[in-house]
Symmetry: C2
Subunit: 215 residues, 2 copies
């Protein structure tokens, strides 16, 4: 039945998300995953074809809506600004929020997904590289253009680096949401994602707009 099939599929995806997030692609076995899902070992191959394809689906089903959200928020901000170039803060907020907000989502997968996507982008799986590049390409192009408009004097190579630095900052913040409370020695509480986001935007706004030092 389609209904039961969907239920099993969903349970497997959920368990896979958690275990891939915790142990990485090669560190999580299909046996662990199907056991935690309460499904049969053979279900993975039936529903997804292979472990790699399961991993791909775990990621893409969350990445796609997230990136659409990022593009939508940017478009909305631009409409609001009219002819003016967007303030840096506005671009960054549109870029960061759809990712970090998932740290508090009641929706499934929040923290797991953050850790997973951070690991994948900082340390890509070769078999997924092309598909991820295709998925992120419109986003990169679109935001590069927005940043370039707001920072007209910045040479392309510097903009490239500053966007990379911003990405690194964001990914690390996302990857470690799950243990910042512990390592901050009580300075920060895990439910204050807004506080993290505000500080992240402060930091990256300054970094992107920094003066350039002499070579």
């Amino acid at each position: 039945m389609a209904i039961e099939s969907e239920a099993t599929r969903e349970k497997v995806l959920k368990a896979a998300e958690r275990l891939f997030s915790k142990n990485g692609f090669s560190g999580a076995s299909l046996r662990q995953i199907t056991e935690e899902a309460g499904a049969n070992l053979a279900a993975v191959n039936y529903h997804f074809g292979s472990k790699e394809d399961l991993y791909k689906e775990v990621l893409l089903r969350r990445v796609r809506p997230m990136n659409e959200e990022r593009l939508t928020l940017l478009a909305q901000a631009e409409q609001l600004a009219g002819e003016q170039p967007l303030p840096l803060r506005a671009i960054l907020d549109a870029f960061i929020r759809p990712l970090l907000s998932r740290a508090t989502d009641r929706a499934p997968g929040g923290l797991s997904f953050l850790r997973l996507i951070s690991r994948e982008l900082a340390d890509p799986q070769p078999f997924l590289f092309d598909e991820m590049a295709r998925e992120f390409d419109p986003l990169v192009k679109r935001y590069t253009h927005a940043f370039a408009q707001t920072l007209p004097g910045l040479p392309p190579v510097d903009l490239f680096w500053r966007m990379q630095f911003t990405t690194g900052t964001l990914l690390y913040a996302a990857a470690r949401q799950h243990d910042f409370e512990r390592i901050s020695s009580g300075l920060w509480k895990a439910d204050d994602v807004e506080g993290c986001m505000r500080r992240l935007v402060d930091y990256c706004t300054a970094g992107l707009g920094a003066p350039r030092s002499a070579a």
Copy 2:
């Protein structure tokens, strides 16, 4: 013989560094490693005891001198500055250089080590967590103090975040040195590590010293 023993040990460490870096801890097998090293499978257990202990040694033998260098550079900069608090740039340079300079080292392991240590810090292996914490603790304390001196008005929680953001920026830059040339579409050449470092310092200096926005 002690000499041959050392040679085998060294060959295994070198191969392990490359393969752990490329495929991660669980993605690299002892078979791969010993084969690439031209050593016997049993050599790993003889010399290191277990796969986990091999991994630990691969990391720590490079982390220890790197972190000593960071502490030394900071002390030297402080001596140079006398009574004055250090400029942000000087602290950052001392923090960043001993890591990123390894991207060009003729010495073995440069790029591999960068990728490996970045992955380990952004996504720690549980079995190594305590030992890494112990190894990095003096560094964190020392640099936190230096930053706090130079940024006297900054509340501790904000300093915590900004140091985390700086760490994330640095680790991502380190992790991807090996393919920035490719993904920059020709904007940047891999031999220009100085250029990367200068831009990284520009970015983080601005971020650490950024104005704080209202909550």
